[in-house]
Structure formats: structure tokens, C-alpha cells
Symmetry: C2
DNA sequence: TTTACTGCAAATTATTTGCACGGTT
DNA sequence: AACCGTGCAAATAATTTGCAGTAAA
């Protein structure tokens, strides 16, 4: 378990002490579930921790190889450099483990490849806008929508554990 | 184009005359788009017209072969028996055509196989509940949710054309 | 030293495509 | 006759799995 210090990656509130880093929670949860700390998994966790929105398995593989997209700068706050090449099979295996522990969530955008993103407990979660022309995916969040979902969830014949909302359309560039 | 008679599958309102059958609209749209009336496509359209919720390509193939699931009784109101074996390739091709004409909509439920269902213009559309344990998919609709989406759609950097909402959890049987 | 982690290559699974034939207009 | 629609079999593409070697506890 992580050391409790208010100085590094921690938030101290009146009622509880929580880590504010998804990465730390992920590592801790993995260890608690009886996993060792492999390098490939650490790299994937660190990358996901640095991302704001959902990635595909291939995007993760490319980014860790040192991809030329915007996903540079995967460096832990403590200077840990976890980036390293990770085989695609491992990427899928790791994502699967993380999903089972509810540390990551699948995002289906109707784009053949499934996307994955971290699940943050103490943050308002977001949903997705998908441009069907160029394929770009953007996050958004909306209070009214969340409360509508919450109310609804009580009245439905399902013990709801998650929900996913995707808006499709044309982004500004494509609609122009 | 279909004969305009107020007696069969038609709704006459003060301002417009519309067919209330998705199947008829589908056939008309297909012809207008320059398609001929093949038997396989008619069978798929008729089956989709008889369904309340989303099916996978394989479910469609099975149902048309005379599957032992609940999807029996595919018989047109006028007695047309369109059921016949349809190859899987044709099922996919036909679904693709129908999707491009916005007659059917993909539903991604996180279950490896994509589902498809008809899009009804003059009906309130629904969304889906998915039991992650047994895989059952149920439709639901909610006014408050729809209006939240509508409001939201105006404020987002996307010209929104569709939206999809999926609630995941455990159905009553599985949660018991 | 025991058990998990990882890469590689092969296997699966859903979906798509090429081609030849049969049906519709 | 001209052309679309359909089935079959082969081709793709994403994801999964078997196995052997490597690393963490």
C-alpha cells in the first residue's frame, strides 16, 4: 500500500484520505489481486494514467513503442520511465485484467476497434462524441444527463453498474 | 409506392400521410435508391420489421432458417411468407445497405457481435439494457433522458445525428 | 524456486470481398 | 438484354490462446 503523505499525489479531506492518482490505485489494486509487477503492465498502466480519453489496443502499442502521435511524455511524476515496447498480445491481456478489476472501461464507438480508458472513482466520468467522418473521439460530460441516468437506473429491471453514452455526428472540421 | 388507403397500415393525420409500417418505408426507400426487390432482402426486412429489439447477423440468419428461438412468426400482415434461408454474407450486405439508408441502426452492446435494429421515425426510439452475466438485451425509453440529450446536443462541438445509450448490469434473474 | 509475466506465432471469430450464377426489370 | 442480388468460398482484421523463455516474490 502507498505511504500516506499529504505532499505527493494525495488528497486529504476531512473524512477520508484518497490517492488522487489512478495509476497508484491501479497498482495497488493489482497487487491486492495477487499480481506481480511486470514491466509491460506498468508501462500500459502509466500510459493510460497519462491519457484523458479512450485508446485502442493498437494506439497503446504504438504509443509505447514511441509513436509519433500526441501520446508522448509518458513519464511518472517520480521520474519513472516505464515506456518500453509491449507486444500486442500483452496489451490485450493487460487491458482484460484491468477491465475485470474495473480499473478500465471499454468504450464502443462503432469503429471496429474497441477503445479503453481508465475509470476514475473520484472524478466525474465522461462520455464520448464520435465524428463518423474522420473518426475523431472527444470526451464530454453533462450533469443533467448524469442525473437523468441516475433516476432512470432505479426504475429499470436491471441492477445497473455502468452506462455508456455515445453521440455520433460530424465534427466541426468535417461539417464545414 | 404503396397505395394510399386509410385502412391498411396507414395513418392519416391533418398534415401528412405516412405509412406506419417500417417495412413499407424500407421497401419504398430501397426502390427509390435504385434497388431491385430480391428475395433475401425482403426476408431480412420482414424479419426486422417483426422485431422489437436488436438482433445480431447470426440471429437473423438463424431466425430466417427457421430458428428455434423466439423469432418465429415472420409473416406479413397480407400473408406474405418471405422466410427463406439467407446466406450470412447477404445478411451482412443487406444490413449494410439498410444502415446507409438509415433504415437500421447498429447497437454496440459490448458483446463481440454487433446488433442491428430498425429505425422508426414516427416512434419514440429506445435504448438498451444489457445484462453482462447472461447477455440478454432489453429495450427501454425515457423522456427525461431524451430531452437531456437534446439540450446537450446543441452545446457540443459536433453536429449530432445519432446517439446511443447502453446501461450495463445484472438482470433480475442473474442478480437473484 | 515457485509462480506470474511476456513475446512470438498460431488459432479463432466476426465481418468483408471476389466471382459466377440466377432473378428482376 | 442489362444489371442487380445472392450464395459460396476465400480473404481480412481484430482479438485470443498455446507455449517456451524471463523475471518477480
Amino acid at each position: 500500500m502507498p505511504t500516506l503523505s499529504a505532499s505527493e499525489g494525495m488528497v486529504v479531506s476531512r473524512d477520508q484520505i484518497v490517492t488522487d492518482s489512478w495509476g497508484e490505485r491501479a497498482e495497488a489494486t493489482l497487487v491486492a489481486a495477487g499480481h506481480k509487477r511486470g514491466g509491460a503492465r506498468r508501462a500500459v498502466v502509466e500510459l493510460l494514467d497519462s491519457q484523458q480519453c479512450a485508446l485502442t489496443a493498437v494506439e497503446i502499442e504504438d504509443a509505447l513503442r514511441g509513436g509519433a502521435d500526441g501520446t508522448e511524455g509518458t513519464e511518472g511524476a517520480d521520474g519513472t520511465r516505464a515506456r518500453r515496447r509491449v507486444s500486442r498480445a500483452s496489451v490485450y491481456r493487460i487491458l482484460d485484467e484491468l477491465e475485470q478489476l474495473r480499473l478500465v472501461q471499454r468504450v464502443e464507438t462503432g469503429q471496429t476497434m474497441v477503445r479503453y480508458e481508465r475509470v476514475c472513482e473520484h472524478e466525474e466520468h465522461h462520455h464520448h462524441l464520435v465524428c463518423d467522418e474522420c473518426g475523431v473521439v472527444m470526451p464530454f460530460s453533462d450533469k443533467a444527463l448524469e442525473s437523468a441516468i441516475e433516476t432512470l437506473s432505479e426504475r429499470v429491471p436491471l441492477k445497473v453498474s455502468e452506462h455508456e453514452i455515445v453521440l455520433h455526428g460530424s465534427c466541426r472540421d468535417c461539417a464545414a
